[in-house]
Amino acid sequence: MTEMIKLFVNGEEVEVESGKNLIDALEKVGIEIPHFCYHPALGADGNCRMCLVGIEDGRPPIVPACKTPAKEGMKVLLDADHIKKIQHDVMELEFINHPTDCPICDQAGECKLQDYYMKYEGTESRMWVPQVKKRKVQDFGGGVIHDQERCVACGRCVRFLRQITKTGELGLVKRGDDCRVEFFPGRPINNRYGLNVVDLCPVGALTSADFRFKQRAWFLKRAESICHGCSKGCNIMVDHNKEKYEDDLIYRIRPRHNEQVNGWFMCDAGRMTYKPENDNRLEECTLAGSIRPLADILADAKSRLERASKVLFLVSPSASLEQLVAVQALAEKTGAVVSAFSDGYIVKDDGDDFLIKDDKAANRTGVELLSIAKSRTHFDNTAKEADVFINFNNDLSRSLSEEQIGKLFRETWVLNAATHPGQLGAAMEGKAGSSVALRSWSEYHGVVVNCDGIAQKFVGGVMKNVERPDIVEVAAGLGSPATNEAAAWALVQKKIPALAEFGSFLELPDEGVKLTDNEAGK
């Protein structure tokens, strides 16, 4: 347990965690101290002067809160007139050379300058002399666009690239109000985490080339999800919106803070995983090449399952625990064999020592916890004998060549339930069989277990115009005892006792549940 200490804010006693600076300590109890340059992951710099607070009987009496540790008995002044005046004056100074081009700025709606103006300044401009002119649109590389005039020179981006990625592409150059962020000549941002500077930027100085001008921040709906790009399971916010007459589309993915998983950041590749969620999706269910309703396809497949002598189910190592148990239960009932063969999901030497992992599967630990076989021999041997093969959204084209896939299933009847085309290779496309277009991870919810054995919930907020079934629904339609999500979750709890205490997946704590090393099969 963290030690608690008592201090006074505007004369009122509050209890805060010790060992934190005033900004962090008071934020936890709901008291805001405005700041631009401080960021918990980057430490205190003290350049913006927005967090100046009064300390009664303190020496000095006015201190930057970011550099001041919370101490027992401290008397912090936030709403005293002289502190309010400082906040007002510093805001006025931040603004004098700011273009205030909010109507065309992507940061509008989530901009600290806007928020603080409303809260701490709110007076008319007194800038009766010409503003400083700087460069407007500058390509910083890595998909980052810079507007020097909007910059408040807080240096968060510079510190991120020096302290976290240690690539140091950016620096603050020149002096006085000519001070600006620049990249070193000929060396723009070039690392796999560069887009984090866009989130870190408290104003609209750094924007994402991918996102800018596409949506206003206030129109975006937010879904708290987990990145399915690799086995790290970075916590993310899926920002999506359904415009009139359009489909519900994701416009960007941002990291969500989780200290025990990804901290405040995520990789650039993870951010771009929204694109395949929007584009090139399977839309229709087919039976022997013609479009048919889902019920027809499931009824057909179900009767084939009953008649088959050997059945192989292939699950995805990125599927949720609920989906995995639903398929597993179906297999137990029908005597089918389940495989999670997915060697191709592992990209050797692609990972690093920060967030990116070699394994591009979101739930391989979950597969292991449920004791689902995943070796190639097991898969090959079963596939050779199988007369019915059902793929549950495993992108087999990552692990095997088109030729290999074609050879394995030459004689087999195939049901391909997938989110995207091409998972079984193009050669299989024309093959008589069935196909089901599935929901993808941004459209369903569930639990996945990351590479460190942390079980995390995620919510799918995207509602597509085309209704698609989830794997649990497909498995249920084929006769799985897990007839719905609740039933699937009950099965998960039976197989993973550490999750037994959570009545629904939603009850999992936000920071996730660390399953014991033993349970995680490590």
């Binding site: 003290g46 350049n47 913006c48 002067r49 927005m50 100046l52 006015i62 930057p64 550099k67 005046k85 400082i86 004056d89 510093v90 006025e92 100074l93 931040e94 004098i96 050379n97 007194r126 800038m127 009766w128 002399v129 010409p130 400083v132 408040v152 020179a153 620096g171 603050l172 020149k174 002096r175 006085g176 109000d177 000519d178 001070c179």
Partner: protein, 430 residues
């Protein structure tokens, strides 16, 4: 009135920057006494002498040394501040160019006192000849065994490295100076930690001004009591006063503390030139609030008197202003300088000084209204005291004094108010 030549004793001697000449006139004599004393005793002597930092802040030198943490296994560094950049200040360059061995001797004393073996001299980039002279003197001292592994055959190592600045005023601020030596952009650090605890390369570091260091040999040789005989109780010893501006005989004069300001201007510097009237005096470098002739008449050259007159003693750079000086233009000149030298790190200074400069430009051009004048006066208060270092205050303090003491001069430049002020206000709204 007579000069008291402690620091400037060898200034008039030909080739005094050469070791043989300097030695003939007493250089390095303090070392014998130094090495026969314990380190603690040296600090005590300097404390007792009342020597205060000569860079501008006037912090007691001995006390600064005693802030060093005890029993650390890190090295202690001495950084000598030779970044003399304050407009109106030109005393350290005399020491460096005319008696560099005095500085080197002082460095040896300071190093011994604080148990340091590595000294850095941070010299401003514009001091090219001075740097060459200093380097030659250091080379000579090494050759003569006065620097290096065994200083003066004693078992004590002192190495001196000169580090040249690139022309930034802010690098005279002690923590920006350290950043610059470390090879970074010269920007002040926020304190705490103070340099005595965590300074150069995160090691305990003492930063002293050239003149403070150069005062040490005399103090060690003659004792604290002898030094205290110069000056007054609260400000002991002598100071090199650089008198410039509108006087008949500008130059550097070494004088004890406590002398009447006007007497010094009149008797040493020959008074206001061309028989003109005095308009004001900047007593200790450009960041010190200006004194009116009435204030100058009662002020004496020491810390307490200058504080009483709501100014500062500063660096001893006295700038005399005659009746022809335009105070609005002076204010513009000052803000131009400080705006240009603001490092750009923290918001109030970065944004505020440029704003002030533009408003003064408008005032001097005769295009400003009363609201501009009131705004720039308010900005002095809004900026000061909110920053990481005191550069912003170094601008706002003298500017505030100019605005308050010579307000009518600024008002005289304003655009005449329109007959109907309401019309203007409504016109603005449109």
């Amino acid at each position: 009135m007579q000069e008291a030549k402690i620091l400037s004793a060898k200034f008039a001697i030909k080739d005094s920057n050469k070791l043989t000449v300097a030695k003939k006139h007493g250089a390095y004599k303090a070392l014998d006494k130094l090495f026969s004393s314990k380190q603690g005793e040296v600090i005590e002597t300097v404390k007792n002498s009342g020597l205060r930092g000569r860079g501008g802040a006037g912090f007691p030198t001995g006390m600064k040394w005693s802030f060093l943490p005890k029993g650390l296994d890190k090295p202690v560094y001495l950084a000598v501040n030779a970044d003399e950049s304050e407009p109106g200040t030109f005393k350290d360059r005399y020491i460096i160019a005319r008696d560099p061995h005095l500085l080197i001797e002082g460095i040896i004393i300071a190093c011994y006192a604080i148990n340091s073996h590595d000294a850095y001299i941070y010299i401003r980039g514009e001091y090219t000849t001075q740097m060459e002279i200093l380097q030659k003197a250091i080379d000579e001292a090494y050759k003569a065994g006065l620097l290096g592994k065994k200083v003066g055959k004693q078992d004590y190592r002192v190495d001196i490295t000169i580090h040249r600045g690139a022309g930034a005023y802010i690098c005279g601020e002690e923590t920006a100076l350290l950043e610059s030596i470390e090879g970074k952009k010269g920007q002040p650090r926020s304190k705490p930690p103070f340099p005595a605890v965590e300074g150069l390369y995160a090691c305990p570091t003492i930063i002293n001004n050239v003149q403070s260091i150069a005062s040490l040999p005399w103090i060690i040789q003659n004792g604290a009591m002898a030094y205290k005989r110069y000056g007054i109780e609260s400000a002991t010893g002598t100071h090199l006063f650089g008198i410039s501006g509108h006087v008949e005989k500008p130059g550097v004069y070494e004088l004890p503390f406590g002398l009447p300001l006007l007497d010094v201007i009149n008797e040493m510097a020959g008074g206001v030139w061309k028989g003109r009237k005095l308009k004001g005096v900047i007593p200790g470098g450009s960041s010190c609030p200006v004194l009116t002739p009435e204030e100058a008449a009662t002020a004496t050259l020491d810390y307490a008197s200058m504080a009483e007159h709501k100014s500062m003693f500063g660096s001893g750079g006295i700038v005399v202003l005659d009746e022809t000086v335009s105070m609005p233009e002076l204010a513009l000149n000052l803000t131009q300088f400080y705006h240009h030298e603001s490092c750009g790190q923290c918001t109030p200074c970065r944004e505020g000084l440029g704003w002030m400069e533009k408003i003064f430009k408008k005032i001097v051009a005769g295009e400003a209204a009363m609201k501009d004048l009131n705004l720039v006066r308010e900005l002095c208060d809004n900026i000061e005291g909110k920053t990481v270092c005191v550069l912003a205050a170094a601008c706002t303090m003298p500017v505030r004094a100019l605005l308050d003491k010579y307000r009518d001069e600024f008002e005289a430049l304003l655009k005449p108010e329109p007959a109907d002020a309401i019309t203007e206000a409504s016109a603005e709204q449109e």
